[in-house]
Symmetry: C2
Amino acid sequence: MKILLTNDDGIYSKGIEVLYEHLSRDHEVQVVAPEIERSAVGHAITLTDPLLVKPVDRNGAFFGYGVKGTPADCVKLAINEVMEQQPDLVVSGINLGANVGINVIYSGTVSAATEGAILGVPAIAVSINTFRNPDFEPAARFARFLAGQVNEYGLPPHTSLNVNVPAIPENEIKGVRVTRQGVTRFVESFERRVDPRENVYYWQCGSTPPLQEDDDTDACALANGYISITPIHHDLTNYDFMESLRRWSFPKVTD
Amino acid sequence: MKILLTNDDGIYSKGIEVLYEHLSRDHEVQVVAPEIERSAVGHAITLTDPLLVKPVDRNGAFFGYGVKGTPADCVKLAINEVMEQQPDLVVSGINLGANVGINVIYSGTVSAATEGAILGVPAIAVSINTFRNPDFEPAARFARFLAGQVNEYGLPPHTSLNVNVPAIPENEIKGVRVTRQGVTRFVESFERRVDPRENVYYWQCGSTPPLQEDDDTDACALANGYISITPIHHDLTNYDFMESLRRWSFPKVTD
């Protein structure tokens, strides 16, 4: 397959390098990724700034393009301009830190995969559940395996796969679970400070609450030692509520 | 009600001023909004930069806080730090330009409402279908009406309302339709340029394709002169595909 590889930790990150090494054994891999870390950018795209693109040679690990933009920008630009043919698969990762539950909507890693799905290309986002001393190998091996599965089975339109891998020794991983996205909220906090010119500013912090998710969620599978795979799409409609909403009274617009 | 008012065009925009004027007739309105335009930022949040907060006096129109952050940052910060009590409603807008179809996932306006829903507060996003010579009055009047309806009927958990108002004379608006989000893709293009130091950069442009959406979508209702209301949530799971995905073969992770 022709694979477009991107991430949100930036083209110089270790996660993309390990993933390249594994995927390029079987496939032709083109890297187009943000030149710097663009975590938590959600599905941002860049319309009001120019997208600077620079060739990046990762000292023999791979050659690719670094973009002064978001992960979603990278996917759009790669498919529209950089690659001569539409890729067969978009892979995003390996992200440092899980993208489960509510974090999915803030995730640049996942939005790159979603952007692939929007543009009609099957896509996989891969994250590991740690920020420290990561061993990317198990996740890279699984991503390579899953790429083959996607090639064999295909994905429905507008759908990508959000994969999270536990940060435990590979032989302790219990298996794979197909999950739904949990929706338990992130608990954020803000630390108030005053700068030397007496301006008020805040640092935004967040913590994951004690696991309150149901058994069938991504967060729960991951916490229990399973690789979670959640099929996601970008239709945000709450269909269940449409009929109730239609019963609200909507007169003509008046003052 | 206590209403938190925000937007993605910035605290100095006309749309937020008109909306404030209408909502404050019946409600206590607190404005916390980006200090500059933050369009197309999707659900970005700011974790790696400080969030500078400045009091803003809009020359008698209103007093509020301008934040060096995204719309989602503003909602989190307002609810966690600025407001003494949790608001009863979050209103985001009035945005210049429709947020229908695929644009919904790139929209800062909609993400502010989604953030309200995540934090347990009912929320409405309001956009008008033009970028030029906007008349915000019909949309502001409808937003005020709809705020009352939400107060009366309530919204289910994790759900907000994405409202789009046609840019036509108010007496020509045909009525209100409860719609689903269309998923027809945006057609983007990139204009390649070279800067004076011979670096390559691109401007990202986009155009809306000829209307191919089904009758029951937001884009179709809007194009036909109706106000569209789409109930949205932030569970991205593609439930329909879960069973098929479970039938894929997932052996233990091996090289």
